[in-house]
């Protein structure tokens, strides 16, 4: 049942993604200043937005784990953090490629790139420390706390890189400034949805693995007890 749901979700994600890319590549006109390359934003920005979504889910489930000590919540946290870190990495790499084309450099230390990089480093800390804790309850508790600490840092990072002495050259956030032309809005929203579906399918696969891992752990304990 669960496996079928995962497959269905993955197929749905593929259909939405391919349909959207078809629109993006064949229907939409080129952007006046950038030519064809602006189409990167249809995966670049959805990756960033979905990373934020999954990090937020991870924060909620981390708090729920501390409150209830139910290991399912910890599994959701680690699955979401892993997928979120992957999406942040995707966002950084596609942004870097766009920057090489438009700015002439791979990396510019601009406001958003720096922020995303720090976000990535914060959650890499979580993913690196987690396997180093052997005892399951401790592993779940400590990683929940680390993910809460990491999430609390994000607003501070955003504040720090906006300090008066830090410069920026990133195009303004399209959703806030409203500079995105009307014909781009539909594909943009569907792009976010498509990336969300793909990521959710990945989270489900990862969740399934985590529950199998818990079964392994309990079988091991059972064998030891005899």
């Amino acid at each position: 049942m669960r496996e079928k749901a995962t497959y269905l979700l993955a197929i749905l994600a593929a259909v939405v993604m391919i349909g959207n890319l078809h629109t993006v590549f064949t229907q939409l006109p080129d952007e006046a200043m950038q030519g064809a390359v602006y189409r990167i934003i249809f995966i670049h920005v959805p990756a960033a937005i979905n990373a934020d979504i999954f990090f937020t889910i991870a924060l909620v489930t981390a708090i729920l784990f501390l409150a209830t000590k139910n290991f399912v919540y910890d599994s959701i946290t680690v699955s979401c953090v892993e997928v979120g870190a992957m999406l942040t990495f995707l966002n950084l790499v596609t942004g870097s490629i766009w920057g090489r084309n438009q700015w002439g450099v791979w990396w510019a230390w601009d406001l958003r790139m720096t922020g995303q990089l720090m976000c990535f480093l914060l959650y890499m800390g979580y993913l690196l420390v987690r396997p180093a804790i052997a005892e399951p309850t401790q592993r779940a508790t400590m990683s929940s706390i680390i993910s809460i600490f990491a999430y609390a840092d994000i607003p501070l990072v955003l504040m720090a890189i906006r300090l008066p002495n830090v410069r920026t050259q990133h195009p303004g956030p399209v959703l806030e400034t409203g500079t995105l032309a009307p014909e781009f809005r539909g594909p943009f929203a569907i792009g976010i949805l498509a990336m969300f579906l793909i990521s959710s399918a990945l989270v489900l696969v990862r969740l399934h693995q985590e529950s199998a891992q818990r079964e392994i752990d309990s079988l091991r304990r059972e064998l030891h007890a005899r």
């Binding site: 064809a36 992957m86 079988l219 091991r220």
Partner: protein, 50 residues
């Protein structure tokens, strides 16, 4: 479609799909390892019960 900057558009999307594919391959590898381990432990438990 304009040919200007098309190369970098191609690089961008390739990088995106490569990252997702690598992540999926990592998941598959881990899934196989976990499934193998689970099967091994289950047969071990059955052996002990007999």
């Amino acid at each position: 479609m304009d040919i200007t900057n098309l190369t970098f558009l191609f690089y961008g999307y390739s990088a995106g799909w490569i990252i997702i594919t690598l992540f999926v391959l990592m998941l598959v590898a881990r899934g196989r390892k976990i499934d193998g381990e689970l099967a091994r432990l289950k047969s071990l438990v059955e052996d002990r019960e007999r």
